[in-house]
């Protein structure tokens, strides 16, 4: 057991609470870690592309022009054109909206479902824990992508079903994480103290346990966003979910795959790079988000 001395551990400056402190702390985190700042900037760029994309692209992403088919990247077509003469740059930018929507929707869904299920399981134990555990175990018994394939194949080829399938396959991860965190804190001194202060169990769950597990969930959220995009792209690549001619990164890579062997690399390359960048950005974002939300990192 370590003994604690009288000397304060941190600097003497008191921390204010509230919004201003949060903003100041965010600035501090971004300043200290340029990689995090970079990923934030990239994320903002993606958001802009998603929101404004269709209005600012030079060409109509669906307009085909067989005369201009299979042209390499040039000044007129920055990313070249595909087999139907559509401008790839425009398609890549417009596809941002769809992919981001899928990612955000699935993550929000699974965070709500899995997070609350997990916290309840970890806090209450007993049958709640057992049932949620069984559900998680059954989902985890499948290779996750294969299960997603099965779900979308069964429910039908739509974007909604991709979101649902992605949420389902990520459920065990969130439920487990939330459960173990809630379990650890269930016996913590400050939870007992909260009971002594007169807080009922649901209040403790909502006001004491949930805010304390947010940092870890934050990291998980951004990692899952990246994974959700990869999942959706993968499903579209094998023909499930998004259907042509809708621009989506996965489908575009699939369409470009046939032309790689004949040397027209740009059709598959640029959407693939966009995919990579998006996932990379989300992965880096996770660490930055955790630093912002975790109060122990505040000075």
């Amino acid at each position: 057991m370590t003994t604690l001395s009288e000397a304060p551990a941190e600097t003497k400056k008191p921390a204010a609470s509230g919004i201003m402190a949060m903003v100041r702390h965010t600035q501090y985190v971004l300043a200290e870690n340029p990689v995090t700042a970079g990923s934030f900037a990239l994320f903002v760029a993606f958001l802009i592309a998603a929101i404004l994309g269709p209005s600012i692209v030079p060409y109509d992403p669906l307009a085909s022009n067989t005369m201009a088919a299979l042209q390499a990247p040039s000044a007129q077509h920055w990313f070249g054109t595909d087999q139907l003469g559509r401008d790839i740059f425009s398609r890549v930018i417009v596809a941002t909206r769809l992919d981001m929507t899928i990612a955000i929707a699935s993550v929000v869904l699974v965070f709500i479902l899995g997070g609350f299920a997990g916290i309840a399981a970890g806090f209450y134990g007993g049958w709640t824990d057992r049932i949620i555990g069984r559900i998680s175990d059954t989902i985890m018994a499948f290779p996750l992508f294969v299960l997603a394939m099965g779900i979308v194949a069964a429910l039908g080829n739509t974007v909604t079903n991709i979101v649902v399938a992605t949420a389902i396959i990520n459920f065990p991860l969130y439920a487990r994480l939330a459960r173990s965190e809630a379990n650890i804190r269930r016996e913590a001194g400050f939870v007992h103290a909260a009971r002594l202060s007169g807080n009922s169990d649901p209040r403790i769950l909502l006001c004491f346990i949930l805010p304390n597990i947010m940092p870890l969930m934050m990291v998980q959220i951004s990692l899952t966003m990246g994974y959700a995009i990869l999942n959706a792209a993968g499903l579209s690549f094998i023909g499930l979910g998004v259907r042509p001619p809708t621009p989506e990164w996965g489908i575009m890579v699939a369409e470009g795959a046939a032309f790689i062997v004949s040397g027209e690399w740009w059709i598959a390359f640029f959407p693939g790079v966009a995919l990579m960048l998006a996932v990379f950005c989300f992965n880096l974002l996770g660490d930055g988000l955790r630093d912002i939300v975790d109060p122990q990192r505040r000075t």
């Binding site: 069984r134 175990d137 059954t138 985890m140 018994a141 499948f142 290779p143 996750l144 992508f145 294969v146 299960l147 997603a148 394939m149 099965g150 779900i151 194949a153 069964a154 429910l155 039908g156 990246g226 990869l230 792209a233 993968g234 690549f237 094998i238 023909g239 499930l240 996965g250 890579v253 699939a254 470009g256 795959a257 790689i260 062997v261 004949s262 040397g263 690399w265 598959a268 390359f269 693939g272 995919l275 990579m276 996932v279 990379f280 992965n283 880096l284």
Partner: protein, 337 residues
């Protein structure tokens, strides 16, 4: 020892039951008329009625489930519409192709990622450490089908080192006699080096694609695990006792660090089996993944269902093996069973 194995096997049974129930349910949530799904888009009303009777869709749900399970026990996974052959035969024929690819990919990945992770942890801050961290972070961002395509473009189209991605063997060679179904092994067994070389050159690129995919999580967990173990108190005792560096790293640290890595292998396999499907499509590899994908395109539903079930059962068995391996290494597990 046998009791431990028995206990572990027993824990796999609820998973198998769950898998069977879920795959059964998946076939029942099809939008619209299930029978016409299985009968195919070109079926006549009589054919659809036939299928409906076959599937027992007019009976109650528990009865349907019972006949589903009975069929499974008989090894009946339905019939493929496009080929007309039983699904189970096709899957059995194609399984070795997928297995060979996945296992080779995993093997390559392990022999690179594990030493990389260990050295990165032992020599913190060195260029190997930085390489490891870059690999780990970037590796998870790469879509596996994209990496495959890039490899094809660079190594086949630009450099001409790899053959065309057209499957397990090119047209000039024929498969070796099927002892294991693994072309590499079978070719070596009969000393057919020509076929061996051909098979090897075909499998190289897809296996490397899979290896790159699983490199990142394995390297990351190995490095993290080694770092955590090297900071543990019993390592301090070992150092204070004057043990050699190599003893400390290999006998004391590595064996303990491998435990979380083995646990993670289960998750890695989950990703690998999924990535398998995508890689098979890129390289036209005749495994069960591409079987399912082709069936999907043709709206041929029975193979897809059979594929999901087979993969799930395989995965449960793989997890069981990983569990047993873990129990063999960690003596603490025997106590709790």
């Amino acid at each position: 020892m046998l009791r431990t194995i028995g206990r572990r096997v027993a824990t796999a049974i609820p998973s198998l039951i769950g898998v069977i129930i879920v795959t059964f349910l998946l076939t029942r949530v099809l939008p619209g008329d299930t029978a016409s799904f299985f009968a195919g888009p070109a079926a006549t009303p009589q054919a659809i009625a036939e299928v409906r009777k076959q599937l027992g869709l007019d009976r109650s749900l528990p009865e349907q489930f019972a006949s589903y399970v009975v069929n499974l026990a008989k090894g009946d996974l339905g019939t493929s519409l496009t080929t007309g052959r039983p699904v189970v035969t096709e899957i059995a024929a194609r399984l070795p192709a997928s297995a060979e690819l996945t296992l080779l990919g995993l093997f390559l990945s392990l022999i690179i990622a594990v030493p990389l992770g260990i050295v990165a942890a032992v020599r913190q801050g060195s260029w190997i450490d930085h390489t490891c961290r870059i690999v780990a972070t970037a590796g998870v961002s790469l879509p596996v089908f994209f990496t495959g395509l890039i490899f094809v473009y660079v190594f086949y189209f630009l450099l001409g080192w790899s053959p065309a991605p057209l499957g397990r063997l090119d047209v000039f060679n024929s498969p070796p006699p099927a002892y294991t179904g693994f072309y590499l092994i079978d070719a070596l067994v009969v000393r057919d080096f020509e076929t061996f070389r051909a098979a090897l050159s075909q499998i190289t690129l897809p296996a490397i694609t899979l290896a790159v995919f699983s490199l990142a999580p394995i390297a990351r967990i190995t490095r993290a695990s080694m770092l955590a173990i090297l900071a543990a108190e019993f390592i301090r005792t070992a150092r204070a006792s004057g043990l050699k560096s190599s003893t400390i790293i290999m006998t004391y640290a590595f064996r303990n660090a491998m435990l979380p890595v083995i646990t993670t292998l289960g998750m890695v396999f989950s990703f690998l089996l999924g990535a398998n499907v995508l890689v098979e499509k890129v390289f036209a590899w005749p495994g069960i993944g591409s079987y399912a994908v082709e069936a999907l395109i043709a709206s041929d539903f029975a193979p897809v269902q059979g594929f999901v079930l087979t993969m799930a059962i395989l995965y449960v068995l793989i997890n069981l093996c990983i569990d047993l391996l873990y129990s063999a290494i960690d003596p603490r597990v025997k106590v709790e069973g």
